[in-house]
Amino acid sequence: MKLDPKARYTEEHEWARQDGDEIVCGITDHAQESLSDIVYVELPEVGDVFDEEDAFGVVESVKAASDVYMPLGGEITAINEELEDDPELVNQDPYGDGWLIRFAPDAPDDFDGLMDAAAYEAFVAEEEA
């Protein structure tokens, strides 16, 4: 399982990374591996506002369709439009080109309350056990 040391993580297997005042978010390497080949990603619209843990989109693979949830509450500022034509980017590069959304968080300080890479690794290990 690959991890991004700069990112923080949720129990729903999303990652979040600070970029200036905004947060970039996607699904983890572990999540993409569990889903296997991703065939469709449904994303919100720029300007949509969500609370923490709200479902903001759907990632559909050949095996399943899963909701993806906001790590923190905020307003969507960008979506990864490449995914419309190339959803497999989420498989190939989950922490890079396979990002899902950028958003402006309501409470930026809450970022520190998310799991860091080590904590997430331990969480996954426990979940698998």
Binding site: E42, P44, E45, V58, E60, A65
Partner: protein, 432 residues
């Protein structure tokens, strides 16, 4: 078997049913022998009048078109007739291929890129188009503009189907006095028109399509697939979703059902449409095969997020439509459409000349047209049926206050010139 479950008698078995309703006295006649039963049923069936017993000029959504024998010959094959829903491609190649071919031909006819495997009828397909449009806009737009000349029953079904969704459906009140384009705004999810409209008229809808798109809404066209044999496909003038009744494609009148709702859309809305899509692929050995490519994923794995509870399709009627379209081919479809068109125009011209009858307007039409009658439509229809064995047209006064004493007549390839001439003679008698 009673002993095995610990019951002593049949009576014992029904102990849980309250005594007063357990074995009620039924006021039934004595049992009949098989032959007597057959006579009785035949006599009952004999009081039905079917479109093959008389000349039929009634349309209004259910059309008397020719069904070639090859349709039933294929339909009655046990492999198709008894097949259940094709979840397992390894045992359903025939059904899946038929649906795939049906979808392909519906796309060709409508000018759309994706067709689903069908809905129950034209009315429910129209309602599903509304739900698709609402979901394309992520439930942020809840207004639907509908032309008053979309089939009245379809409009009623759309309202029934979407009740509780908090939609505002406008455009068809007061006989459609408000202009449809004036009703378009940033709340509008879609605009629905019918082509040819319920009164049979064919209009250039490209301006309406542009106005609809300018408002960011979807342009939904309800259409008659038989008309598309000669008319421009809705996809060529801006339709985003094309739906309609497919009964005319080889299904016969069937006493009002089962019918066939077809549903096609632009590719980008495929994920939001209900139902299922069959696709072509290759198997492990590289051979062509067919599978459910897009199957109501919401209903299987994310039920709480499902946008529609439709997870079925009209398998046999789809098959009839596929066989019908394949048997006729492109030129045959055009020929049927042209026969309808020319015969209807002959009838319209002759009826327009009858003293007391007049035409509603001179707009282009396909196989249906409206005539203003000198007497109530019901009275004329009773006379036609009783005296001439003719099934007359549809009484538009039932749905449109301003069209009292107006009859919607339908002429198809099934109506011979003689039949039309007899109709003209009969109508001439009404006023003489």
């Amino acid at each position: 078997m009673l002993a095995a479950i610990g019951a002593r008698s049949i009576k014992d078995l029904f102990d849980d049913v309250p005594e007063r309703v357990r074995f009620p006295e039924l006021d039934l006649p004595a049992a009949l022998a098989e032959l007597d039963t057959r006579w009785e049923l035949e006599s009952l069936a004999g009081s039905n009048l079917t479109a093959s017993d008389c000349a039929c000029f009634l349309g209004a959504g259910a059309y008397n078109h020719f069904v070639p024998s090859v349709v039933d010959a294929v339909l009655n094959r046990g492999e198709f007739y008894t097949a259940y829903t094709p979840y397992q491609p390894e045992i359903s190649q025939g059904t899946l291929q038929a649906i795939f071919e049906y979808q392909t031909m519906i796309c060709d006819l409508t000018g759309m890129s994706v067709s689903n495997a069908s809905h129950y009828d034209g009315a429910t397909a129209t309602a599903e188009a509304v739900i698709t449009a609402i979901n394309v806009h992520r439930l942020k737009r809840r207004k639907v503009v509908v032309s008053p000349f979309v089939h009245p029953e379809y409009r009623a079904v759309v309202r029934t189907y979407t009740q509780g969704m908090g939609l505002t459906i406008v455009g068809d009140e007061n006989g459609g006095s408000a202009g449809l384009t004036d009703l378009l705004d940033e709340e509008t999810a879609c605009l629905i028109v019918q082509y040819p409209d319920f009164l049979g008229r064919v209009e250039d809808l490209s301006g309406l399509a542009e106005a609809t798109h300018a408002a960011g809404a979807l342009f939904v066209v309800v259409t008659d697939p038989i008309a598309l044999g000669m008319l421009k496909p809705p996809g060529e003038f801006g339709a985003d979703i094309v739906v309609g009744e497919g009964q005319g494609l080889g299904a016969g009148l069937n006493f009002g059902g089962p019918y066939l709702g077809f549903f096609a859309s632009r590719k980008k809305y495929a994920r939001k449409m209900a139902g299922r899509v069959v696709g072509q692929t290759v198997d492990a050995a590289g051979e062509r095969g067919f599978v459910l490519t897009l199957s109501t994923r919401e209903q299987h794995i994310r039920r709480e997020r499902a946008t529609s509870n439709i997870c079925s399709n009209q398998g046999l009627v789809v098959l009839a439509a596929a066989v019908y379209m394949a048997a006729l081919g492109k030129s045959g479809m055009r020929q049927v459409a042209e026969l309808c068109y020319h015969k209807a125009h002959y009838a319209q011209q002759r009826i327009g000349e009858i003293n007391g009858f007049s035409l509603l307007d001179d707009k282009p039409f396909f196989k249906e047209f409206v005539v203003r009658c000198p007497e109530p439509v019901q009275r004329i229809n009773d006379y036609l049926l009783d005296e001439w064995d003719i099934i007359g047209g549809y009484d538009l006064g039932l749905d449109y206050a301003h069209l009292q004493d107006h009859m919607l007549l339908c002429v198809t390839e099934m109506n011979s010139r003689d039949e039309i001439d007899v109709l003209v003679e009969a109508l001439g008698e009404v006023t003489s």
